[in-house]
Structure formats: C-alpha cells, structure tokens
Amino acid sequence: MSASPFITRCSKAVADKRLQRTLASAQAVFRANRARGMKLFPHFEQHRDTACAVRMRCLENLPAILERLEERIVEASGTVHWARTGAEANAIIADIARLADVKKVVKGKSMVTEETGLNDALAAAGVEAVETDLGEYIVQLAEEPPSHIVAPAAHKDRHEVSQLFHEHLGEPVTDDIPEMTLMARRALRKKFLEADMGITGANVLVAETGSVVLVENEGNIRMSTTVPRIHVAVAGIDKAVATLDDMTALLSLLPRSCTGQALSSYTSWLTGSRRLGEEDGAHEFHLVLIDNGRSRLLSIPELRPVLSCIRCGACVNVCPVYARIGGHSYGSPYSGPMGALLAPLLAESDGKDTRDNPFAALPFACTSCGACKEVCPVRIDHTGLLQKLRERYAAAASPMPRHVARGARLIMEHPGFYRAAMNSVRRLDPELKIAQRLPKIGKTLTSWIVKRQLPRFKTPFSARWKRIKRNSGGQS
C-alpha cells in the first residue's frame, strides 16, 4: 500500500509544529466561546430536537418548498437560477456578470462557491473576484484554500498574515492584530465601493417570504449586498426551509453552536431587489440554487441526515482528528466530521462512484469518539453515518485488507474463537513479532503499523482495566 495523497497531506500537517499550535489554540478558543454561550441558553436540548425535526421535515418536502421559494423571489423582483452541477452554477454566474458588464466582484464567505470553484471560473471570464471575509481575504492573498468553515485562515498566525499584507498591500510589518485588521478594512473598503456585483452564500432560504438569511460578524456581507448594483446569492438546495418559524428554530442554534454568540453581529433577511425609492441595496437580485449531488444524496434515506447540516462548524471544533490534520488535509472545502461525510457523498454525483471517489479515505479518518455528535445542533449522528460510509467505500479505501477483515469478523463474532485467539497470541507471540514475519499476514501488519500502534497482548485487557481504574483513584 503506497501512501495516498490524503495520508501524505496528513503526515505533513502533523509534522508542522506551527500548524499544530495554531490548530490547538483555535479549537480551544472556539470551544470556550461555545461553552460560555451555552451557559446562557437553558433549553439547548429542546431546541436541538426542534431544529433536527425542522431540518428533516424540510429536506423531505424540498420540491414543494423550492417551488414556493422561487415563486416568492420572483414576486420580489428577483431571479432564481437552477444549477445541476458546480460547473453549471459557475457558468450561470459568469453569464450574469457578462450581461451586466461586471468587471469587479466582492464576495462574502461561501463554502458552496468553494465547492464549485467559482473564483477560477470568474477569473477565466475576466472578472476580478475579491474575498472580503478577513480570513478568506488572507487565504486568497496566500493563494490557499480555506482551512476552517468559520475561520478560513485558522492555520495562519499573525506573522504570516503580516507578511502577506506587507507583500500584497505594501503595509509595514507588525504583530498588532487590530492594526492588521485596519489594513484589511482600508484595502477592502475601496473594493466594496468599486464593485459592480456582490456574491454571497446563504445560511437559510425561507420559502414563506423568499428571503435569504445571512449571518456574519464583520459586516462584509452587508457591504457586499448594500453597495454593489447586483447581488448574487449562491446556495445548495438543502438550505431551503418552509417557514419563518423553521428559520428561527435554526437561527437560535447556529451562532451559538459556532461562536457562542446569541446572534452574530449582523443577521440579514434580504428579500428580492431594492424597492422603488430606496437608495441602497442591489438593483438586481439573483439566487443560484445548486444541486451538485444533493438530490442524489437525498434519494438514500439512511444518509439523508447528512444534508441537515447547518454548517456551524461545532463538530470541526471538537474533532480530535481535525485538531491534528487541520482543514487542508481533507482536500475539500468541507473539513472535520461534516467534511468527511459531505465531501465523498457530494463527489459521487460527479460520476465518481464508490470505487474511484477521491474522498473515499476521509470516513476512515475518525476515532469514533462521538464528540461531534454531542455538540451537533441538529443531532447528526456523525459517527454512525461515517461507519456507513466506511462500508460504502471499503473496497476503495479501507486500510484493512479483505481477508484480514473477514478473519477479524469471524473472531469478533464468536466469543469462543475470540478467547482462543487471544490466549494463543498471548502465549505464543504477545508482541506480534512472529506474526510480522508470516507471509501475507506479515505484510498487512507491517503496513498497518506504519501509522498505528499494535495492541499489546501480554496481559489481558480485563487485568489492565483493573489497574487503570486503580491508578485513576477508583474513578472510572
């Protein structure tokens, strides 16, 4: 087994000391903020039940909801576009830009446009697209993809950022973060005022009113939707809910799960284009609805809950695997537990079936600790779903060869075999030294232990467990 690109990226990330420090502190801050916010939010469990039910109900009724949404947006003088694939979405947006003679675009943070690779498509169409979320702006200057759904530049420290601003903006080098923020404000203010078009994602789409809900802290999304003459919102079809009440059920949980804020600095409900007599807001409003594998995913009932994700990032912030490998290792705009689910499943629609799926290895990068499931505001069972994906991609990416898996299964399923196997290994080869020299089994074992520690068989686990309990002062 040669190391896959995924494993190579992981190894590189794990060896990067600076990245390890930055990741650990980002996760710690996110978790502390969330914990502080949740302290002020007494009915978390009930809200989760509601939000989970809302998401599943809306997904199951999506056709009617999307048609109502379209109807309302058209009533508010907006235009709705439908895109089967990311490429189709990019072409639609490039067309809107061409027809309106757009040269400069300002963008709010949008994972779905990362999914479609919109920036490259716009550049090819001769349109300059500037990311305006501070983190996205930083990674755009660095010509890197975002590494975290909420904090795209979570992998960069202040010195790297200052260096970028020095090179690209001609600003003096500093280690003062507020000063760096001010540099970005100055550079981007100019971009906002010059832009012809603002492109944003959408946190929620409300069919009842045709509204796009946008949640942000920096004000860059409000700028992108207030100043330029055209606003294009881009969203996966999964973002649509039926009613305003469905929307508030999600909004109660979204910022709290993410940053611990009751609400982010700005929550905007935008409906259609600016009305008669208004002096700001876009003259032209477009919504681009993207399928890109989502309808296909919805046709598999047991995997449907994956799409109920509201992209809060809470699971990313508790994931021990993300903490070590960071966002870039995933090779997808979606990282952490939700990324390990979404990336391979959305890729399946590109004609990549389970065997040649480029993200097939991601579901195996999970310790099954379940921390993600505990924080998920819409009660996604990441661990259970990831196990289903492991089955799905076993042939393509399981690190365990088929014959070994079959043997292991036989042993695990029969207590008698298990005991016999354990006893003989303990007596004959407790360090698995002989086993490593055996043909077939040996090769598998050696490749397995490159990245893993082998279990020790010298003393039975039951005996070790007693010792562990004793050492921890009787607390289990």
Partner: protein, 213 residues
Amino acid sequence: MSSSRTDILKSLTDALGPGLCPEPKQETAPPFSHNQWERVRFMAERAGARFILAANEVEAVRALYELVEEFDVTTAGIWNHPLLEKLGVADMVDEVIRPGDPNAIERLAEAQMGITAAHGILAESGSVLVAASPNTPRATSLLPAVHVAVVPSGITVPSISMLADFIRSQSAGTMPPSAIHAITGPSSTGDIEMHVVKGVHGPVQCIIVAIDE
C-alpha cells in the same frame, strides 16, 4: 436554464415525492412585549455594544448630544423618522446626510455617525432590529464609524423564535421589506489567531439609546 430546473425537481420528486409547503400565516400583530431593558443591556454589552437607558425623551436628547460631542461628530447620516424629528437629532450636527442624498454611499462612508430609530429590539440577544425603506436606508447603520440606534418603549421582541412574527408584522402580505437586519454589537472579527477585534467593515461602535417612557 429551465431544463436544469426540471431535472433537479424531477430527481428530488423521484427521491422524496412532491412534498408539502404549508400556506403562510397571515400577517400578524408585532410580537411586542413589555420592555426588558436589563436583559437587553446584558446581552448587548456582552456583544460589545453600549447601552444607555434614558428615563424620558429629554434625557435621550441629552444623551445624544453627549454622544455627538464624544465622537466629534460634524457629519451624520440620519433617517427620516418621526421619533428622530421629535428629538431634534438633525439640529445636533453641522451636516446631515438625509435619505435620498444622491451621493449617500460615498458621504456615509466618511460620516462619523449614523443615527437610526429601531423597528424592534430583540431581548434574547440584545439586537437592534431595523428594516429598510426609502426613509430608512441600509447604509446608515453600516458605513459610518459609529452607529447610534434610538429605541423607543414598547417594541421589545422577547426571543429569537418570535422574530418570525416580527418579520411578518413588517411585511406587506407575504413580502417583507427588502432588508431587515438584526444588529448585535459592532462589527467584529476573530479571523487572525482568534483574537477578537471590534470594528471591521461596519461601525466600530454600536450604541443603543433606549427611551423608557
């Protein structure tokens, strides 16, 4: 792209059936409750806003004068709003940018203060609720360095879940205003090393002047 539309709806319908979207609720009365100033203060200050509670309109006028002085305001964007007229806000500054100004965006970007009158105040999060219209443009609460929202009594929306009825109450039929914003403290970012900085693209300060009468 009607064929994409048909294709997507077809594959969704094949997967899920046609689905149901409930008929919208009729326009509702605003879900306003009694004032909850202390809750608003706690949450707004937690989000980095300043909260000033004026016992009456006279005190509110004094508070606004003090703010104009504190921030050396010479130019301010001010909404056309009966409450702001009544408080005489326009007389407090040298130069006023009114809704309808042909260079509103450029001028507001240079203004030291934007003064609005809230359509609601959300107690659960300490957010100011504002709705766009020709007399109440969006940029007034966004472009100037400081945003001051004057909040009269009797427009408290208790919880985030009641925002649904608040939005309905602002709508004509099923159509809400072109933009509603919930503003919770000043703009902020934590994108560099998770270090929180107040004041990014929006105002550096968000100040609530509530009138308790």
